[in-house]
């Protein structure tokens, strides 16, 4: 069965690039442009993994994780944060909210993101 990955990211180009990379690898890719839209897609589509940006309009990444923690089903979905910054305080907070990994966009590239996804849910 094709695994579903939800990308919640406000930067359109990043979204397109990731989508292309993951689709090419055989994943079904769902996209949302902000946290709110992300939560809706989660409910409807039941993804296997979430790639989550932190700074976004309407609802940020931390709030998304907080919302997910309130829901038994959502709580189990692995989250990989893909963010522009990566200060120790932010990493701490994400870890406490249950994030599996934290990738800084400038330090990783799509291939490495893909590797992390595979690490979490397999191909």
């Amino acid at each position: 069965m094709t695994k579903k990955i939800l990308i919640i990211e406000d930067e359109k180009i990043m979204l397109e690039l990731l989508q292309k990379k993951l689709t090419k690898e055989g994943y079904e890719v769902l996209v949302a442009r902000d946290g709110k839209e992300g939560l809706e897609k989660m409910r409807k589509k039941n993804p296997n993994l979430i790639l989550l940006d932190i700074i976004m309009p309407k609802m940020g990444g931390f709030e998304v994780m907080e919302e997910m923690n309130k829901d038994k089903k959502f709580k189990k979905i692995p989250v990989i944060v893909v963010s522009n910054s990566g200060q120790p305080v932010e990493l701490d907070r994400a870890q406490k909210l249950g994030a599996k990994d934290w990738l800084i966009k400038t330090e990783f590239d799509p291939q490495e993101v893909l590797d992390k996804v595979v690490e979490q849910i397999g191909k």
């Binding site: 180009i13 690039l17 291939q111």
Partner: protein, 530 residues
């Protein structure tokens, strides 16, 4: 009978004559023993008789002087006349000083006493004058007076000198007073807070600005010891930094209240090698801090905004290179690769800029914990293992065989500092070179040094090596990448921990960077004892 009587009278007369003659002889002889020169003068002031002493004194004999006017032998003619007149009235005048003219025209001072002569009926018949040579006396007196004068002058001089000295002392006192007032005025009106501790570490001066900073009254603090001051809540953060010995502190931040941040420095007051006390200067940097914070926030935000498009570029280029978007020609690959590398440099620069702003924030936000330093060094070394292998560098971590005390450090920041130094050592050492990390603990300091056999720092650029954005010319030639921020950041971090950093470098032979960190005895522990 008559003849008999006549003979008797004649005899009487002869006897009387003889008696008289005897008497005259007697008087003459007697008067010759007198040391006093005497002359007899008739009513019209003619000398009629002198004694031997008079002769000896004046040089005149009786024949020469008898019959001469008395005024002849005195210099002051008028005075002698007056003297005689006065004698007529009073009968006697004693010791008037006059100048006598001797036969040889020499003038000498004499004391003259005059009395009047009377016959047996009491009629005025002239004067007796007694003259007493006072040359010697006068000379003696003059000598004495001279001596007295000299002595008086000496006394006068020393009195003047004394007065001068007193005036000088007074002047000096006034000057000191004035200086003191000036200094006091400076201390009182200074915008900086000032505290002065005396040699025994008791508080002796608190200026009004310091009172204002801590909301305290000087009178409640004066003469209190550093320990007593810990009991005053407003003061305890300050005292915690100072310690009981009053440490040397240079520009340490002290947050007194939310709206007041001070920068404190201590200055030892030393005169002729003797410590007189410690001056503590408290400079209000609240405004500077705010500006600094705003600047930091601005740079942080800008850097963050810059990173977003850079990551998009990075990802797009990477996918092009990986062939995710479609096949590309070798030429296209070559150009994209170069563009990708430029973008990577841009990302590194932005990251360092962010680090700088974080460091500048860190001066305020820094939160240290007691940590074992060896573990931190080891984790940094582990991070660089791959690069060390790639460059075939002979690397060694030489740690002194002793137990290291825990240090109060900000772990993340210290990793950055050590990492920057190690990164430089590896980066600027040729393939196959040597890098050695030494760690030792001496007295109350942990000492670090990182030695390399790299390119070194040219002498004329050594001064600027810790400056923001500075890169050595040979470093730029060897490695185009690099922002010139690494050492600046390392220095800031080490100094924020009250450490010191320095280096020795030989161009083309290598560089050793040294730094130390103080072992801080926990002041809280010390405070608990009281």
């Amino acid at each position: 009978m008559a003849d008999e009587k006549l003979n008797l009278i004649k005899e009487e007369l002869n006897r009387a004559k003889e008696d008289l003659g005897d008497l005259e002889m007697y008087i003459k002889e007697f008067s010759s023993f007198l040391p006093l020169a005497v002359c007899t003068v008739n009513p019209i002031e003619i000398i009629i008789n002198i004694n031997q002493v008079f002769q000896a004194l004046t040089g005149y004999d009786s024949l020469e002087i008898n019959g001469e006017h008395l005024a002849k032998i005195f210099l002051e003619k008028e005075k002698i006349k007056n003297l005689l007149n006065l004698t007529r009235k009073r009968g006697k005048v004693r010791t008037k000083e006059l100048v006598l003219i001797l036969k040889d025209r020499k003038e000498i001072p004499v004391n003259v006493s005059v009395s009047i002569r009377k016959d047996r009926d009491g009629n005025f018949i002239g004067y007796f004058l007694a003259l007493f040579d006072i040359t010697e006396i006068k000379k003696f007196r003059e000598e004495l007076e001279g001596k007295v004068k000299i002595r008086t002058k000496e006394l006068e001089d020393s009195r003047k000198a004394l007065i001068n000295m007193l005036e000088d002392v007074e002047e000096a006192r006034e000057k000191t007073e004035e200086e003191k007032n000036k200094t006091l005025a400076v201390i009182t009106n200074l915008a900086d807070g000032l505290l002065v501790f005396d040699a025994t570490n008791n508080l002796s001066i608190v200026n009004p600005q310091a009172e204002e900073f801590f909301k305290v009254k000087s009178k409640d603090l004066i003469d209190k010891s550093i320990l007593e001051l810990t009991k005053i809540p407003e003061f305890s953060p300050l005292v915690r930094i100072l310690g009981k010995e009053i440490k040397e502190i240079y520009r340490r931040e002290l947050t007194v209240r939310k709206d007041l941040t001070l920068e404190m420095s201590t200055v030892s007051l030393i005169r002729e090698k003797e410590k007189l006390g410690t001056l503590i200067i408290l400079h209000n940097i609240t405004r500077e801090k705010l500006v600094e914070k705003m600047k930091t926030e601005f740079v942080s935000l800008s850097a963050h905004q810059l990173r977003t498009p850079l990551s998009s570029i990075k990802w797009a280029l990477k996918m092009l290179l990986d062939g995710d978007i479609g096949k590309i020609t070798e030429e296209q690959r070559d150009f994209i690769k170069k563009t990708y590398q430029s973008n990577e440099r841009m990302i590194a620069l932005i990251n360092d800029l962010l680090d700088v702003t974080r460091i500048e924030e860190g001066k305020y936000l820094y939160n240290p914990v007691f940590t074992q330093i060896e573990n931190i060094i080891q984790s940094v070394i582990n991070y660089y293992q791959r690069e060390i292998k790639r460059k075939k560098i002979k690397f060694e971590f030489k740690k002194a065989q002793k137990k290291f005390p825990k240090l109060k450090i900000d772990v993340e920041k210290m990793k950055v500092a050590i990492g920057n130094l190690l990164d430089n050592a590896i980066r600027y050492t040729q393939v196959g070179g040597t890098v050695t990390f030494f760690l030792d603990c001496v007295k109350n300091k942990v000492e670090f040094s990182i030695h390399d056999t790299g390119i070194g720092i040219s002498i004329d650029q050594q001064e600027r090596i810790f400056t923001k954005f500075f890169r050595g010319a040979n470093a730029v030639q060897m490695e185009t990448e690099g922002t010139g921020l690494g050492l600046y950041i390392a220095k800031n971090i080490i100094e924020a921990h009250n450490g010191k950093i320095w280096f020795k470098s030989n161009p083309k032979k290598g560089t050793t960077f040294y730094f130390n960190l103080p072992v801080e005895k926990e002041f809280e522990e010390f405070l608990k004892k009281f």
